[in-house]
């Protein structure tokens, strides 16, 4: 894994592309391809969430809700109303962005971590609504009959086809994130994380930027959610509950806060874990909690720090 900086980043990206391209030749069992697909969806959400946690210094416990909203908006509008899937994906992202804006503007004005409370509440609300509004959402048993995506007439209806699509999008997500991080805005965000007062004194509109990063991270989640809905064809509220939000934050921390590769690593490490530990299924959350605690004590900068220097620094080169 290479640094998320200049040449190193592109080497890493190329390496990932090659790895992702070779993987299906080795992994032919559709079950494992499915795991890799879920991993990629998680990675997309985590890359976005990590920009928020790592660069704006704010934690969201509502990303499962943004993910879920993306999934439900895409699912219902294409399933019940026959909307065009790709347009609906964009539409869902816009709606989620607006919602994030409404949550973010009042809470990110305040100094301190009010966002975590607001997003926690939001996740609970979304979860209750998707459970209760069964006419629209199908309630606890879920909403089914969501059509597959298709590109140029080719339906993305197998694990392998979806694999190609979602991993391409992970590459795009990483590349976009990296461009943000290395831009003037990214520099301002890193300054903001280090000293909010000094960043303000340098003229950085810190509140505006925090809101923007929050909205961007919600959009990553929404897009991943839409993809999820079209991939599985069925969605249930349980997938998007508060525990998934906690898992996402755990992935950021385990992988490495504020590092793009860290987000991917965190997802790669934690997604297959329940599969590997499937006979402990009931104790999954216990394992997540335990891993989170061990990481914070022994490896606070996450898995990326095993090979790299501090995440904040490597992004600069």
């Amino acid at each position: 894994m290479k640094r998320a900086g200049g040449k190193g980043f592109y080497l890493g990206l190329a390496g990932l592309a090659v790895g992702a391209a070779v993987m299906p030749l080795v992994v032919t069992n559709p079950y494992y391809v499915n795991v890799l697909n879920v991993l990629a969806l998680n990675a997309l959400v985590v890359i976005g969430l990590n920009l928020l946690i790592g660069y704006a210094g704010q934690i969201s416990l509502g990303h499962a809700a943004f993910y879920g909203l993306g999934a439900y908006i895409s699912g219902i509008l294409t399933g019940s109303y026959g909307w065009e899937p790709w347009l609906t994906l964009v539409f869902a992202a816009v709606v989620v962005a607006l919602i994030a804006l409404v949550i973010g503007i009042p809470t990110l004005r305040l100094h301190g971590n009010y966002l975590v409370m607001a997003t926690l509440g939001f996740n609970l609300i979304v979860n209750i609504l998707t459970n209760q509004m069964d006419d629209l959402t199908g309630g606890p048993s879920g909403y089914s009959g969501i059509p597959s995506l298709s590109i140029a007439g080719v339906a993305i209806d197998t694990d392998l086809k979806f694999y190609v699509l979602v991993w391409l999008l992970v590459l795009v997500g990483l590349w976009l994130g990296r461009n943000l991080v290395r831009s003037r805005v990214g520099r301002a965000l890193r300054a903001l994380r280090d000293s909010e007062v000094a960043a303000e004194a340098a003229g950085v509109p810190t509140r505006v930027y925090k809101v923007k990063v929050f909205v961007l991270s919600a959009v990553y989640a929404s897009v991943a959610g839409s993809l999820y809905a079209h991939y599985y064809g069925i969605i249930t509220p349980k997938t998007f509950d508060i525990f998934y939000s906690v898992e996402l934050v755990t992935m950021c921390i385990v992988g490495g806060i504020g590092s793009l590769w860290g987000g991917l690593l965190g997802a790669a490490f934690l997604t297959p874990l329940p599969q590997a530990l499937h006979f402990f299924e009931e104790y999954k959350d216990l394992f997540y909690g335990g891993i989170l605690m061990l990481m914070l004590i022994f490896l606070p900068r996450g898995l990326v720090s095993l090979r790299l220097r501090t995440p904040a620094r490597e992004e600069t080169r």
Binding site: R184, R187, A199, E200, A201, A202, G203
Partner: protein, 242 residues
């Protein structure tokens, strides 16, 4: 010209400033002296927009600065160098300097590059450290960097908060030398200091802030000769000749 008119400021129920009136003419160096907790930093924060006043207003070049909007103040050339060497520790020296020019970056990239070169001439200490994280610099170097970053915003008015705090005498001397040269670059200075002697030696005029009120003002020479000021800030009669 900077005009501070009847400014009150609070932190919750605690009042930090009471009816502060202050002016700084263009090309001047004005210092603000006072004990710890007198409200010096609060006054700078009000001017730069970091703290919203509860009453009064701040005019710069005849127009009010919007309260609580530091980005607007910076855009109009009013730039604060915060207290305590607030450099961005994980960012490199170069990135710190670039951030100083944050608002100019998009439309004046060439100007930013030119100013960066100029900063390295003014602060040669930073030259060899450009790609180093700012957190690895010494205290004096960090203060130089904080000052240079402030100057990268192309300020017309620089608000300096305790630039000499906790630094070795030689560095303090160097910093005051640079500050003294700022009006020649078209930059007006409002300097907050506990080191009253050093501040008054570079300033044209000064104000004394006590318990949130302006209690004395005058030219540096007048303040240096003032018995009250001498007792409170200059360590009594021994320093008279300074």
């Amino acid at each position: 010209m900077l005009e501070v008119q009847g400014v009150d400021a609070h932190y919750g129920a605690v009042q930090a400033l009471r009816g502060v009136e202050l002016t700084v003419a263009e090309g001047e160096i004005v210092c603000l002296i006072g004990a710890n907790g007198a409200g010096k930093t609060t006054l700078l924060n009000v001017i730069s927009g970091l703290h919203r006043p509860s009453a009064g207003r701040v005019l710069w070049q005849g127009r009010p600065l919007p309260p609580g909007r530091p980005d607007r103040a910076v855009a109009r050339g009013v730039v604060q160098v915060p207290e305590g060497r607030q450099v961005f520790a994980p960012l490199t020296v170069r990135e710190n300097l670039q951030l100083g020019a944050f608002l100019r970056w998009r439309h004046d990239r060439r100007g930013v590059e030119r100013d960066l070169e100029e900063m390295l001439e003014t602060f040669p200490i930073l030259k060899n450290r450009l790609e180093q994280p700012a957190g690895t610099l010494s205290g004096g170097e960090q203060q130089m960097l904080a000052l240079a970053r402030g100057l990268m915003s192309a300020p017309r008015l620089l608000l300096l908060d305790e630039p000499s705090l906790g630094l070795a005498p030689l560095i303090v001397k160097e910093i005051f030398r640079i500050v003294a040269g700022l009006p020649a670059r078209g930059c007006t200075v409002l300097l907050v200091e506990q080191n009253a002697l050093g501040a008054l030696s570079v300033a044209d005029r000064g104000y004394v802030l006590t318990g949130g009120r302006i209690t004395a003002s005058g030219t540096s020479a007048e303040l240096l000769a003032d018995g009250e000021v001498q007792r409170a800030f200059l360590g009594g009669k021994e320093e008279k000749t300074a």
